[in-house]
């Protein structure tokens, strides 16, 4: 029982430390700044904002032509 408690205590401290560390790292590296740029980070020049990227197979050619 004592062993379990000690092991758990170590786990709790380690995981809490990692979580706080992750939050600190995020703040330090500017992850909470320039949030709108963050939202745009999944787009590129080939798949830019404004172009949908998925469709039903049978409509492939039609939507391709209309883009």
């Amino acid at each position: 029982m004592t062993f379990t408690l000690v092991a758990l205590f170590i786990v709790v401290v380690a995981f809490t430390a990692i979580a706080i560390g992750a939050f600190g790292w995020a703040a330090k590296t500017g992850q909470f700044h320039g949030l709108e740029a963050g939202a745009r980070s999944i787009f590129d020049t080939d798949e830019p904002i404004g172009r949908p990227t998925d469709h039903f197979p049978e409509r492939g050619r039609k939507s391709k032509a209309s883009v």
């Binding site: 590129d44 798949e47 904002i49 998925d54 197979p57 391709k64």
Partner: protein, 486 residues
């Protein structure tokens, strides 16, 4: 944007081609491990569906296959839970997370061998675990029925995946860490914590008495909230903006949603034990945390709705979007329902009734599984470089899955409420209450048949796309229309 050539001509066709090739290289690098996880996930989905049907039929026809020890309700039901939770859901989630990691790190996937080994071990662990449950070697702890040797294999496999995720993150291209990556890292970080703590405290050195129940539900609920939910949200936060070609409405809200989920969710488990022999403060704390979950849920709901606003017409054209948005809407519904069920007054009525089973399926199927289907519809063609061969099969899958799950949730919710109200009334004999649930259980079996048919359509689609059957079409997003291959 990320390649050197694009900085000189940000909008030019050359930059677009470079970006398209970068993306194609990333997708190609994910092919083997992700398809391995997807394929085995779908196989487990079919296995889990068969166990689900067996268990559902046994509730209305108890003598059905009851003379085979391996197929008795007490074994088939946990076999269903574990086959769909660890075989289908976790495997699909890992596959989706791997692909998202590579896309969001903006580098081709490395160390694929670690992932292939992890996939083989994971499937081995699930296969051994499910067989052991059927053979009667279950731990008899809900959500943790796999015996120690199977759990150990899963844990080793999981360690491989976690190590890979850290290696991959270190090798990413510089730039912003998108919100989906936060969710994936959260999930990858929480699951080993949950799984190791619960195994050490319930299996290796078991604690005694009602503390067992507390630990059991701390784990059972957190598997949903800190493992499946973050990966489904990671997928939604990528898929909706990416498919619409529209950044997320408020990135600020998405970050707030992540950190508030991290803060509140792990307190929720105690609401499974309301009225039970555990400290009252623990129950109250978990009720408060359950209601506080409205913060991350509302932020997410606002964000998805506002991003979708004006683009709902695309639900007609994009299979991935249709499944994902269905899942996202059900996330709001199931979470609001979950918060209300944690209140003592409603819990008194719904606890130990089919209402809870309806809620569980609304979460794990209507939200989580539909989101995974959506992600797989988006990802697979980009890995195989082949478009889905049949729109009919996708439509059949969607309508069977959505009507099936709605039928299940509605019948179990109504049946459960009637059951709960009658259980509160001492004048109604217990067997009358049981008899009153039977029509609703029949409806549940039928809903299971619809879902299973949908799964067969999906599995067939998946086999056909792997075999590259049908006409060759251009992948919708692999390359731009103005592409010209070197």
């Amino acid at each position: 944007m990320t390649s050197p050539s694009s900085s000189s001509s940000p909008k030019g066709p050359k930059a677009a081609l470079a970006d398209a090739l970068d993306r194609a290289a990333i997708d190609a690098s994910c092919r083997l491990p992700v398809l391995l996880f997807f394929g085995s996930a779908i196989a487990w989905l079919l296995v889990g569906s068969v166990f689900a049907l067996l268990a559902a039929i046994k509730l209305t026809t108890p003598e059905f296959l009851a003379d085979h020890a391996w197929l008795t309700f007490g074994r088939v039901r946990p076999a269903h839970l574990n086959a769909v939770a660890y075989g289908w859901s976790s495997t699909a989630a890992i596959g989706v997370a791997i692909w998202l990691m590579a896309r969001l790190c903006r580098v081709p996937l490395r160390h694929a061998r670690i992932l292939v080994a992890a996939a083989v071990l994971w499937n081995l662990g699930v296969a051994i675990g499910v067989t052991a449950i059927l053979a009667g070697a279950s731990n008899a702890i809900e959500w943790l029925e796999f015996p120690t040797y199977a759990a150990f294999i899963l844990f080793v496999s999981y360690a491989f995946i976690a190590v890979w995720a850290v290696l991959m993150f270190r090798e990413r291209r510089p730039g912003h860490v998108y919100v989906s990556q936060w969710y994936i890292f959260g999930a990858f970080f929480w699951f080993p914590w949950l799984y190791s703590v619960v195994n050490s405290m319930l299996v290796f050195w078991p604690v005694q008495g009602s503390v067992q129940a507390i630990i059991n539900w701390w784990f059972g609920h957190n598997v949903l909230g800190l493992w499946f939910t973050p990966i489904a949200l990671a997928s939604t936060y990528y898929m909706i903006p990416k498919i619409l070609g529209k950044p997320i409405h408020s990135y600020y809200l998405s970050i707030l949603g992540f950190w508030s989920l991290a803060l509140f969710y792990s307190w929720n488990g105690g609401h499974h034990l309301l009225g039970g022999p555990i400290p009252a403060w623990l129950q109250s704390a978990s009720i408060v945390a359950s209601v506080m979950m409205l913060i991350p849920v509302i932020t997410t709901a606002i964000n998805f709705h506002m991003t979708m606003r004006g683009s709902f017409a695309l639900l007609r054209t994009s299979p991935a979007l249709r499944f994902t948005v269905f899942g996202a809407m059900c996330y709001t519904v199931v979470s609001a329902q979950g918060s209300s069920m944690a209140l003592r007054s409603l819990n008194k009525l719904t606890h130990f009734t089919h209402y809870t089973i309806g809620h569980a399926h609304l979460g794990m199927y209507a939200f989580f599984t539909m989101t995974m289907f959506g992600a797989m519809y988006y990802i697979t063609p980009r890995l195989v470089r082949w478009e889905w061969p049949s729109a009919f099969l996708i439509k059949a899958h969607f309508w069977l899955a959505s009507t099936g799950i709605l039928l299940m949730v509605v019948s179990l919710t109504l049946g459960g409420l009637i059951q709960g109200i009658e259980l509160e009334n001492p004048k109604v004999p217990f067997l009358t209450i049981v008899a009153h649930t039977i029509p609703w259980l029949h409806a549940r079996s039928w809903s299971g048949a619809l879902l299973t048919t949908g799964h067969l359509a999906f599995a067939l689609s998946f086999v056909l796309i792997l075999l590259r059957t049908g006409k060759q079409r251009e992948g919708p997003t692999l390359f731009t229309k103005e592409r010209s291959f070197p």
